[in-house]
């Protein structure tokens, strides 16, 4: 264990906790430019830690699964930013060289199990933030700059929440990945198969939330165009997707005019 957590590893975990905390601010507290979305934060973490391939796979899969988990009212959605950064960091730091599909699948599973912990931490910070407005409310004249100070304290709490979670859960995940390598071969094969099936589940989650029917007309149209153009006519994939978008757009225009 001592050889696993050497100075380089500790520095890498500290660095990713800082960067993850900053990226996490974009999720709710600052800007919301979507840098925190898994499809961006996963590859970014992978690039920093030298395994961009793992970051892209983890980020894309988690994006598809969580993209329609919407923060409405007081509902706190699953922290997909934390999941993407944490899973990528564990995969990159827990493997020698590029992480394989079984490690990637295992890391995604680990961070999925962590979802309730991150949601609870988010809830604690949001409850704590309610006290921030008490100071300026009590005496605005005495604390003329109190609004700015109290408000920006919220940024610090959001950062601290992510920072602490990364510091605890990334090393725990790295230890768990070491354990995975000792497990029987069928578990590794199962995990590799799991990660190849996840995009399909992600697509299903998106389709089920965007449409009220199981077999939506536009879903079927997209599938049919891709099968005809891609599988039967062997058109390049980029052309297949452009064709799907064009037909979808024409159908909407036709439906609106009709």
């Amino acid at each position: 264990m001592m050889t696993l957590f050497d100075v380089h590893m500790i520095l890498a975990i500290l660095g990713i906790a800082c960067i993850g905390g900053l990226i996490g601010l974009d999720r709710t507290a600052a800007g919301q430019f979507m840098i925190s979305e898994p499809i961006v934060s996963g590859p970014l973490t992978g690039w920093i830690l030298g395994d961009i391939g793992a970051g892209i796979v983890i980020g894309t899969v988690l994006e598809l699964i969580w993209v329609l988990d919407i923060p409405i009212g007081t509902f706190v959605p699953a922290d997909s930013t934390f999941s993407a950064i944490c899973a990528t960091a564990i995969a990159a730091l827990g493997s020698t060289g590029a992480a394989g599909p079984s490690t990637i699948g295992f890391c995604i599973l680990l961070t999925t199990v962590m979802v309730p912990c991150t949601m609870m931490a988010d809830t604690i910070v949001r409850k704590r933030n309610a006290r921030l407005a008490d100071v300026p409310c009590a005496s605005l004249i005495l604390v003329y700059a109190g609004i700015t100070r109290a408000h920006l304290k919220g940024l610090f709490f959001f950062f601290l929440k992510s920072f602490i979670l990364f510091l605890i859960l990334v090393p725990a995940g790295i230890l768990a990945v070491q354990g995975l390598h000792q497990l029987p071969g069928f578990i590794q094969r199962g995990m590799a198969f799991f990660v190849t099936m996840l995009p399909l589940l992600g697509m299903a989650i998106i389709a089920s939330k965007l449409s009220t029917t199981v077999l939506d007309g536009f879903l079927l149209m997209g599938f049919s165009v891709a099968v005809v153009a891609g599988t039967l006519l062997q058109a390049p994939l980029i052309l297949v997707f452009l064709l799907v978008l064009a037909v979808g757009w024409l159908l909407v225009r036709y439906r609106d005019q009709a």
Binding site: A30, M34, M197, P199, S208, T231, G248
Partner: protein, 250 residues
């Protein structure tokens, strides 16, 4: 103009102190603070206006700019005596719920999934810059709208009908959702041949595999409709995959 630009920069942090009790009230007050300080040099007057803005406030963070623009205009009119009876509290509370619903449905429910699915489709073609494309596609709409609705709210003093006419949120949201669904169908056809290397798929899966992928996706949709959550389905999928690996099928 300079005031509005300052409000815009501050509005980017409107959710920095988001809480269950007051939600964005402190963020709203923080965004409008420089304007109030300038308009009300008397501390007593400033305090009474700030207390009003510290009341409960919550809406979609991007469209909060529209309410901020309208509030700046009404506070200016009030301070200059042009509209001393403007009911700013009523305007804020009547706008925040509908704009919240509209913004959630447009930005989170339509634009973001569309940008994410388009970027995913690009990744399947082997284009590794797709995450950057996602950022550009989303923020092209987001930043433009966020800035322009602030100024539009200022110009029309918070008229929501004008806002709807100008930006056609509902029509655009519907278009993004339909295009997203079409792309999901298209990706489902090629997904069975996907590997974790994200290399361009050559050749594409045959008819049998394409239909098998689609059927499996429909099965997931049925399970989700029957009350399955993403976490439960992921855990169930792990068990199935481990079972298949144990039996030597995969």
């Amino acid at each position: 103009m300079r005031d509005l630009i300052r409000v815009f920069w501050r509005s980017l942090l409107i959710q920095a102190s988001w809480s269950f009790e007051r939600m964005q009230s402190l963020g709203f007050s923080y965004a409008i603070e420089p304007v109030l300080k300038k308009l009300y040099p008397d501390p007593g007057e400033y305090e009474s206006r700030m207390r009003l803005h510290l009341e409960y406030f919550n809406t979609q963070p991007y469209l909060a700019s529209f309410i901020l623009g309208a509030t700046v205009r009404l506070e200016q009119d009030r301070a200059q005596g042009k509209n001393p009876v403007a009911d700013i509290r009523n305007i804020k509370t009547s706008l925040m719920a509908p704009l919240g619903a509209l913004g959630d449905s447009y930005f989170w429910g339509a634009l973001r999934p569309f940008a994410a699915i388009t970027a995913t489709a690009l990744l399947f073609t082997g284009w590794w810059w797709a995450p950057l494309f996602f950022l550009i596609l989303f923020n092209f709409w987001h930043i433009r709208l966020r800035a322009s609705v602030l100024f539009w709210g200022y110009v029309n003093s918070g008229d929501p009908v004008d806002l709807m006419d100008r930006y056609r949120f509902t029509k655009m949201a519907k278009l993004f959702k339909v295009l997203s669904l079409s792309l999901v169908g298209g990706i489902a056809a090629i997904l069975p041949a996907w590997s974790t290397t994200f290399r361009p798929l050559v050749p594409l899966p045959g008819l049998f595999l394409a239909f098998a992928g689609m059927l499996l996706m429909l099965l997931f949709i049925v399970l989700l409709r029957k009350g399955g959550s993403p976490v439960k389905l992921m855990l169930g999928l792990v068990i199935v995959c481990l079972g298949l690996a144990f039996l030597g099928v995969v």
